[in-house]
Amino acid sequence: MSLENISIKVETAGVFSVGNVNALLSEIAAGLAKVIATGETTVIDLQSLPFAPGEYEQLRQTLGQGEVTARIEAIGTSEVIETRCPGVWWLTHCNIEGDIVADVIEITAIPEILKSQPEDVCAGLDRLNAMLSQPAPRND
């Protein structure tokens, strides 16, 4: 009998809340107020919180999906979405193997990682200039 033939019955734990979702929503509300007032960014690290089984999914459901989805391929995939609440961005960074290395909520106008970085822009310009200075290929 191989491993695949062993039947597995999955029982979901069901959601029981210990109050993390509401507390986080309050923190997000405060962060939004700060962005509106001073433009200051707030970042919440979700991996440091003691979620009860089901609460993480509950938070996902509550915040939902907004208008923007972005995907970054840089040493692994990072998924960036704006939630149903504008200004509240959920960033999930994965490494090359697909494991989550960072899971954060940023309350800001635009997450820093979505912007093109000055060093990369300079490097890109160098490459473009190098391409332009080469003689054009002949079309014979």
């Binding site: 919440i44 440091s48 003691p50 290395v101 960072a102 990682i113 093109s116």
Partner: protein
């Protein structure tokens, strides 16, 4: 060399963009339990960081700590080894063996004298000159003392190196001791746990690499970022403890409802570790979430703390003096009552009847 061997330069040479580097630093901030907004500061610090030499000495251990390290997700072990540190010696992970391996260790120690990071896992036997664990003919005791001389700092990985661990448990036949019992003149970080959470091991290394200094430590020299809270204070089952809802046996109604495991011997209230928040296996869960009480594995002498399934309010060892005390009490009681009766009898026989005429005398 014109260009210093910094991490930023090496990543740029590998074609890794600044954006990717920023993502890496965000992951590092999470790993080191730093506020996530410090990613830019980490990026700035790492940009200038140079690769320190790391020597890993394995003593009287089960290799569980190395196994834990190789399960770390972020940064991956490979990237940690090749990008951020220069792991010059590690029994399990290195390809070399024999005299060649020992020679490369000695060379690395000599070249980076005073600057290399010494990682130790396993306890050090001291009985009979420390003969119970040797590497290449040298006792662990001697090797540790020699390696500690040129180390910038020592990191004790695992409860065995930090506090003595299972070899030190009763009756400790090899005279096992912790690293800090032998080395007294170097900064020591204890990353305790049996094994420690992989992210904690790499987090401390990452902190040292980024900031060039050891993180803030508690009274047992454990990094406060990971060992500052008890499991109990961050446990998601705490509301059940506060309400007095306890599981009585494994798999009973209370256990199925996820009630507190205090009565089943959970040592969460007295154990400092990051299991309740950082969790294990990439955040999949931790022992209490799987339905088993905390063993207290990051605390000293947890093997001798009175049994994993005995609640903290229960006796740690069986009572042995009870029968003897009862018998002694009975003997004393009987003895004193005999003395009392004799006194009574003596008083009775010494009693002289008096008549009215006697009183007049």
């Amino acid at each position: 060399m014109a260009d210093p061997d910094t991490l930023e330069k090496r990543l740029a040479q590998q074609g890794i963009s600044r954006r990717a580097f920023l993502k890496f630093c965000t992951a590092m901030a999470t790993l080191m339990a730093l506020p996530p907004g410090t990613a830019p500061a980490i990026a700035a610090a790492l940009a200038k960081a140079k690769r320190p030499s790391v020597i890993w000495l394995s003593f009287q251990e089960c290799t569980g700590c190395t196994e834990s390290l190789t399960r770390s997700y972020s940064p991956t072990v490979e990237s940690l080894i090749f990008d951020m540190i220069s792991l010059d010696y590690h029994h399990t992970l290195q390809a070399a063996s024999g005299f060649g391996a020992e020679k490369s260790r000695e060379d690395a120690m000599k070249e980076s004298y005073g600057k290399y990071l010494l990682l130790v896992d396993g306890s050090i036997p001291t009985k009979d000159g420390g003969i119970y664990s040797t590497i290449a003919g040298t006792t662990n005791l001697d090797m540790l003392k020699q390696a500690a001389k040129g180390a910038a700092a020592i990191i004790s990985v695992g409860t065995c190196a930090a506090f003595g661990g299972i070899p030190k448990a009763n009756p400790n036949p090899t005279g096992a001791v912790a690293v800090s019992d032998i080395v007294k003149d170097k900064p020591i970080v204890n990353i305790s746990g049996c094994p420690p959470i992989p992210a904690v091991i790499t987090g401390v290394l990452a902190h040292y690499l980024t900031f060039g200094a050891l993180p803030e430590l508690d009274s047992l020299n454990r990094p406060k970022a990971f060992y500052g809270e008890t499991i109990h204070d961050r446990c998601y089952r705490r509301p059940f403890y506060d309400q007095g809802k306890f599981a009585k046996t494994f798999d009973d109604e209370g256990a199925r409802n996820g009630w507190c495991l205090f009565e089943l011997g959970c040592k969460g209230p007295v154990t400092h570790n990051a299991c309740a928040t950082t969790k294990w296996n990439g955040g999949a869960g931790f022992p209490i979430e799987a339905g088993h009480g905390c063993l207290g594995c990051s605390e000293p002498d947890f093997w001798d703390a009175g049994g994993f399934y005995k609640a903290l309010s229960m006796p740690a060892t069986p009572l042995t003096l009870v029968t003897g005390a009862a018998v002694t009490g009975a003997a004393v009681g009987v003895g004193i009552s005999i003395a009392n009766r004799m006194k009574k009898g003596a008083a009775k026989s010494a009693h002289q009847t008096a008549t009215f005429t006697d009183l007049e005398k």
